[in-house]
Amino acid sequence: MPGSSTGDAAPRDLAPESAEDLYHRAPCGYLTTRPDGTVTRVNHTFLAWTGLEEPEVVGRRLVDLLGGGSRIFHETHYAPLLLLQGEVREIAFDVVCADGRRLPVLVNSLVVAGDDGEPLGIRTTVFDATLRHDYEQELLRARKRAEASEAAAREVALTLQRGLLAGGLTGGDGFRVETRYRPAVQSLEVGGDWYDAFALADGRIAVSVGDVVGRGIAAAGAMGQLRSALRALAGSGLGPGPVLDELDAFCARLPEAKLTTVAYAEIDLDDGRVRYATAGHLPPLVVHDEGDVAYLWGGRSTPLAASPRTEPRPEAEVVLRESSRLLLYTDGLIERRARDIDDGFALLAATAARLHDRPVDEMADRLVEELLADEDHRDDVCLLAICLEPR
């Protein structure tokens, strides 16, 4: 009985709750279908949400109440799952309302079987998922934007890197230069390796290969600066040892450049004399026209800006015969976690020897191909091959 107006009225309560009322005035839509999907009973909440009348729902199949894409999904996923598992939860569908509007919903369905285990019908609760759907769409859009943004950032880094490596000589009267770059297989960020070939004022040709520690835009930026600084300092004509000493001083003011390794050589095309020096870098390889090869172990010193130096950096000299090649490379070409470095040296030497009489572009291609055939290289790989040619 409705209570009196005084504060002593008995607390209001729904009990007793009739099954009819529990069914029709539920906070969700509720349907019963036959095993083949024909609706046999539907509650008022579902009708209110969709604007459909009972005769428009009862007697039709659940799949026919759904919008195009949902109809396919109903047949390809929902129905098989239900048949195999006896229930499904949280399936997202679009229900077509009386006014043509699509209502996004989540459904749970339960197969009800008789005592013999055969399905008698399916009970399905329907939850209005409009707001959740909107939120999900927003999240999906945000995720797509983030993925596009990441891809764009990567593109920018690659473009920068390509730009920073441009401008090197590829050949001239008496020489030919081939360069190759292979990024690390599993890395998402650009690396700090470089190659360069440029002319000195007196007509000699300078070549360099370097390796900045780390990855990403910062390493690429430092690489660009070092490559340019080396060009500028080389112009002094002081020779490899002093040039690397000056580069040390430059690096001291550039934190990202600490521990960079460099191999640098100056080649006189007239007499084949090569002056060279390496700062913490793997030794260049000479490949003579007759197939003999030799690593250049002279002129070695510590990486750039490693620690304060008390001695000038050393340099060394070698003479190249005509048609000889000089190879500079970064450690990604031969260093492997699971392989001794000496085996790496031996492999490069043997492969280069075998290719000594191939045209230098083919030699470069095949060196990279064969040395990286194991696909285990975790590091960027840089190769520069300069070949002396008859003038």
């Binding site: 083949d36 199949r61 919008g67 195009g68 390809t76 129905a79 799952l81 598992q85 949280e90 759907h133």
Partner: protein, 269 residues
């Protein structure tokens, strides 16, 4: 990795029996055949497999370039037949796999004794140019792809939302809860595009092995007119209309499905 592992191949039945290869359709895996295969495993060498990217197959073997076309799946099927040395194969393909079988039979017609096409469709999208009714508009297919996105939002937490634990249904085997209908969402999207936007109508006229077309009643994915179209354009085929409704008679009416296949094979012997 071998084909058997890559495609989660399961073989049953007598070693000398005629091979029967079961190929599942979009969305699920070979579990779709679990009520049909036992009817044949006493007499035939039954071979069930999962398409790469589905069920218990090796997801790492999924190559978007290879599977950008149904031919990639047809090639897998032929690799499987070669690997297991199968001849005179009775191919049973459901839904989109029907056309995968058709494609395989164009490449190696002598490999197959019969093609059983369950609820097939050579093209799902209506073609306004020649009046072909596939049953769907291009917008409907985009809606399906959006539906896939909505239903896979929970993928990243390792369980697609359609799979639930069976703690309260101990009578269900473990195998049902782990892989059925679950796949990588990117793979599901591409497979949906490739299959639902494909057009295999021109393939039908060149099929050499005899075919059985099983057409369901009230199948929204492959309606009656489409089954009739397939039957008309196959050079040698029989059309059988099942009383089963919906798109998956192999699950909803396995007895009727098995009986129809049995009857056809007996009559063709």
């Amino acid at each position: 990795m071998g084909v058997v592992e890559r495609n989660n191949v399961n073989v049953s039945g007598p070693a000398g029996g005629q091979p029967m290869v079961f190929s599942h359709g979009f969305g699920c895996d070979q579990t779709m055949w679990r009520h049909v295969i036992p009817s044949f495993a006493d007499r035939y060498r039954t071979v069930a497999y999962d398409h790469v990217g589905f069920g218990g197959s090796d997801l790492a073997a999924y190559d978007p370039a290879r599977y950008a076309d149904l031919q990639g799946y047809a090639d897998d099927l032929l690799e499987l037949c070669a690997e297991l040395d199968l001849h005179d194969v009775v191919f049973v393909g459901h839904s989109v796999s029907a056309m995968i079988g058709v494609r395989a039979a164009l490449t190696e017609p002598e490999r197959f004794a019969h093609l059983v096409l369950v609820a097939p469709s050579p093209r799902y999208v209506d073609d306004a140019d020649d009046g072909y009714v596939g049953g769907f508009s291009a917008a409907d297919i985009e809606g399906l792809l959006a539906s896939l996105d909505s239903n896979y939002l929970g993928w990243s937490s390792a369980m697609a939302p359609t799979i639930m634990g069976n703690a309260d249904r101990p009578e269900l085997g473990d195998e049902l809860t782990n892989s059925f209908c679950r796949t990588d969402p990117a793979i599901a999207q591409q497979f949906a595009r490739v299959t639902f936007l494909s057009d295999s109508r021109d393939d039908l006229g060149q099929v050499r092995p005899p075919c059985l077309v099983l057409q369901c009643t009230d199948d929204v994915i492959a309606p009656d007119a489409v089954g009739a179209y397939v039957d008309e354009h196959l050079p040698r085929s029989r059309l059988v209309r099942l009383a089963a409704t919906g798109h998956c008679p192999n699950l909803s009416a396995p007895a009727e499905t098995s009986a129809a296949i049995d009857e056809y094979l007996a009559a063709s012997a």
